[in-house]
């Protein structure tokens, strides 16, 4: 009760303004706001600190060894005396899994985002969203465990047949569509309907046979592949793509939603089908937002540690040939995680600092791509709202 009366007093007194009270109010207001500001700028201070402390331990490495070895040599023997610190193969490994996961995640993610924003009715969307959220919530170490214990033995023992089935299931629908579209386009210019239908049927059979032959030939080729180790770049790319998907889907869905209804309706009114509307009108309008989504998703894959540490094989050699996704690789994040334990014993050595150099590289890449994606989103919002 005492509290109540005090509160009541304050409220009535707020209207009786004395100079002293006003001064106190003003001071406390500025102080309060200053405190809020201090807390809010804490984030910026933390970012500065992260840059400073990672760079502080990274710079000695470059002072000691220069830049050229780190970026151009693939000899990674940090434990030798003297150690060799060529990180090219490791950087390449990072790029490889990032690119591999992007190749899977970007088409799938964009398709799913389109589906969520434009195709599915609301009642189904309600159930699709939690699926994506759950995929985002599963801890990376659980994905890594799955990759190591379930997927890697599967790939190692049945890699060839699995690749063959994947090729058939993924590619055959697109080939069928391609055959239909190409024969349609090629016969488009012929005016006579009789001849046109004949040519269309002819083209369909010829192209169809070629497609079936291609499916069969590549399928048998893939069937014959023997995967020597299940912990390889392919395994990691698949898992990472599913980790990057939620980011890509949710950010590009936002971008698609930001494209207004009027644009869609205009396109429908001109007689376009839904697919044509999406591809020719909505996607170009949302392209920058989708680009931002792709950048964010890729960063998730590049910065991921546990999956690559557990399931990439951690071999610090470039694969032979360079596009061979079936070989073990090693990434920047996994190297930091794996070598820090031993390097930490000799804090101050080049072996310790080279890991911070890698961290700095990751930090700079993520910083730049974040800024770029942010700018892109801001610009898109400006353009869309300006219309």
């Amino acid at each position: 009760m005492a509290d109540d009366s005090v509160g009541g007093n304050n409220r009535t007194n707020a209207f009786v303004i004395s100079a002293r009270k006003r001064a106190i109010q003003k001071v406390s207001k500025t102080m309060g706001e200053g405190m809020l500001l201090a807390v809010a700028s804490f984030v910026a201070i933390v970012v500065l600190f992260i840059f400073y402390f990672v760079a502080r331990d990274a710079v000695p490495f470059f002072q000691l060894r220069g830049f050229s070895e780190f970026f151009t040599s693939s000899n990674w023997y940090p434990a030798d005396q003297p150690g060799q610190f060529g990180a090219l193969a490791i950087i390449y490994g990072s790029l490889m899994v990032t690119l591999g996961s992007a190749m899977i995640a970007v088409p799938m993610g964009v398709a799913a985002a389109i589906c969520l924003s434009d195709i599915l009715p609301f009642s189904i969307r309600q159930y699709a969203k939690p699926v994506i959220e759950m995929l985002a919530a599963i801890p990376s170490v659980a994905f890594g465990f799955f990759a190591l214990v379930v997927l890697a033995p599967l790939l190692q023992n049945n890699g060839g047949p699995m690749l063959m089935w994947a090729w058939w299931i993924l590619v055959s629908p697109f080939l069928v569509l391609g055959v239909l579209v190409v024969s349609d386009l090629l016969t488009n210019s012929i005016k006579d309907p009789q001849r046109r239908r004949q040519l269309y049927a002819f083209l369909l059979t010829v192209l169809g046979l070629i497609a079936v032959f291609l499916l069969y030939k590549v399928g048998t080729l893939l069937y014959g592949i023997q995967i020597l180790t299940g912990t390889n770049a392919l395994n990691v790319s698949i898992i990472l793509s599913f980790m990057a998907l939620p980011t890509i889907v949710s950010v590009s869905e936002d971008a698609l939603q930001a494209v207004g209804r009027d644009i869609r309706e205009g396109s429908y009114a001109l007689g376009a089908t839904r697919a044509e509307t999406i591809i020719k009108t909505i996607l170009p309008a949302a392209s920058s937002g989708i680009l931002a989504a792709v950048i964010l998703g890729i960063m998730r894959a590049l910065g991921e540690t546990m999956v690559v540490w557990m399931a990439s094989g951690n071999s610090s050699h470039s694969p032979e040939p360079w596009f061979n996704y079936l070989e073990a690789i090693r990434t920047l994040t996994a190297t930091i995680a794996g070598d820090m334990g031993e390097a930490d014993q000799v804090t101050g050595s080049a072996r310790y600092h080279v890991l911070f150099a890698m961290g700095l590289l990751l930090l700079v890449i993520s910083f730049i791509s974040n800024l770029v994606s942010e700018r892109i989103v801001v610009r898109q919002r400006k353009i869309l709202s300006g219309q």
């Binding site: 809020l36 807390v39 809010a40 984030v43 699926v131 990376s140 465990f145 629908p173 599913f242 540690t305």
Partner: protein, 448 residues
């Protein structure tokens, strides 16, 4: 293009979109199903008499009288095995030297296989490690070991062009003509009398600490460590995040400084998790020296920085979602801005803020990379609340990695690994699920 092709393209485009969502759902299932089915096996399984022996010896739990009975009945069958072994050893001594050498070599593999199945044989010295003191505690492992005992595995390298293949040779054939030949069919037939399999529910997997680096026992130290780290991170990050969100939504004026703060926030959200770990090591441990070496407090601080942007964003969204009328009503009644925020806006936004907090808690619990250098150890017992400032802790996420990749017998303790993964995944997913439910209720409430 003619209208038919256009229609087909339209349909297949729809199919592509739906297909990719279906693929995501299937991927989620493919990841979760083995984790759930195998993870449940850590608690519910067919345990042998060795498991019950272990429980009484290591945890003083179980029915001693019943166990004594069971041991007696299993020893009746085991004694025949031991007799056969001593009989064969005597026979071995009488053999001509070249034959003796041949059989001795084979016999040297039989004994360890039997020890792995049944535990130490009579007359063996007391093993140093707890894992060798007992036979197989789980029936499905016992069946594997029985196979190892009955068959010798060999590798077929005859074709140099393909990978060598494993094949099995019966050990009984190798001892044809000796007294030991009967041992193999005898063990095969009487294995369930010797191990007495019985359906077991071992809740101790959640509440016990581990024995002999997770060969036996449970995962309580890891669960507790995860709890300490995640809650500790929340204690730091949640108040800071909410205050920062209040500033951003209520006080910040658009301008260069403000946009820089926002950029900083999204930069922080995008920093790779391993870099947080490095920063934690370089700043909290090596520079600030919050603790001698790894400690819970250093790990919690590192995790707090990591989840801060998520909390800020969620809190901002929740505050912005509060209807404008609330604010206006409060201000028109003469309350100050601060009063409005504290008594009207924050309570109204609280469920949304909590949703963000719960999701961040899950993220802090599941993240591994930031705690590798700052807080996690692979072995150790549960730590007390007073030790959080000085000692590191085992944690679910780190120990999953450690047991699966670095443990010396990783393939022997798959059930423990699966159990840990299930524990972690269910903690994180339950937190997320409650957030989803919470959010659904809020949106219903806001709709009225």
């Amino acid at each position: 293009m003619n209208i038919g092709t256009r229609k087909i393209l339209d349909r297949s485009f729809t199919a592509l979109g739906i297909g990719s969502i279906v693929v995501m759902a299937i991927a989620l299932l493919i990841v979760l199903v083995p984790i759930i089915t195998n993870g449940i096996g850590a608690v519910f399984f067919t345990g042998t008499v060795e498991h019950r022996k272990m429980l009484i010896n290591e945890f003083k739990r179980g029915d001693t009288d019943k166990l004594a009975e069971e041991i007696a009945s299993s020893d009746r069958y085991r004694s025949t095995v031991y007799k056969m072994l001593t009989g064969f050893e005597a026979e071995l001594d009488r053999m001509p030297p070249e034959k003796k050498a041949e059989y001795k070599e084979k016999y040297s593999q039989v004994k360890p296989a039997l020890q792995a199945l049944l535990g130490p044989l009579p007359g063996d010295p007391e093993p140093m490690l707890t894992r060798f003191k007992y036979g197989q505690t789980r029936w499905e492992k016992a069946e594997e070991k029985l196979h190892d005992f009955l068959y010798e595995s060999k590798w077929d390298n005859s074709n140099p062009n393909v990978m060598s293949k494993e094949y099995f040779v019966s050990r009984a054939l190798g001892f044809e003509g000796t007294t030991l030949a009967q041992l193999f069919p005898y063990v095969k037939e009487n294995i369930d009398h010797m191990l007495l399999p019985e359906f077991t529910v071992y809740w101790g997997f959640i509440t016990d600490s581990s024995v002999d680096s997770h060969f036996f026992g449970g995962i309580w130290p890891e669960i507790q460590g995860t709890f300490f780290l995640a809650v500790g991170a929340m204690l730091f990050a949640f108040p800071l995040g909410v205050i920062a969100a209040v500033y951003f939504t209520e006080y910040a004026k658009p301008g260069f400084f403000n946009s820089m703060l926002r950029s900083a926030n999204s930069t922080l959200a995008g920093v790779p998790s391993i870099v947080f770990g490095m920063f934690g090591l370089a700043f909290f441990i090596n520079t600030l020296k919050v603790s001698e070496s790894k400690s819970v407090i250093a790990g919690a601080l590192t995790l707090a920085i990591m989840i801060l942007p998520t909390i800020i964003r969620a809190a901002e969204e929740a505050i912005l979602a509060v209807p404008k009328t609330y604010r206006e009503a409060s201000l028109s009644l003469g309350s100050t801005k601060w009063n409005t925020i504290a008594t009207v806006i924050l309570p109204a936004a609280l469920p949304g803020i909590l949703t963000g907090g719960v999701i961040s808690l899950g993220r802090a619990a599941g993240e591994t990379a930031p705690i590798i250098f700052t807080a996690a150890v692979s072995v150790g017992s549960a730590i007390g609340l007073a030790d959080v400032f000085s000692s590191p802790t085992p944690a679910l996420s780190w120990n999953i990695y450690n047991l699966a990749s670095e443990h010396e017998a990783a393939s022997q303790i798959r059930h423990v690994q699966y159990g840990m993964v299930l524990a972690l995944v269910s903690i994180v997913l339950l937190l997320n699920l409650s957030a989803i439910v919470l959010r659904a209720r809020i949106s219903k409430k806001l709709k009225g």
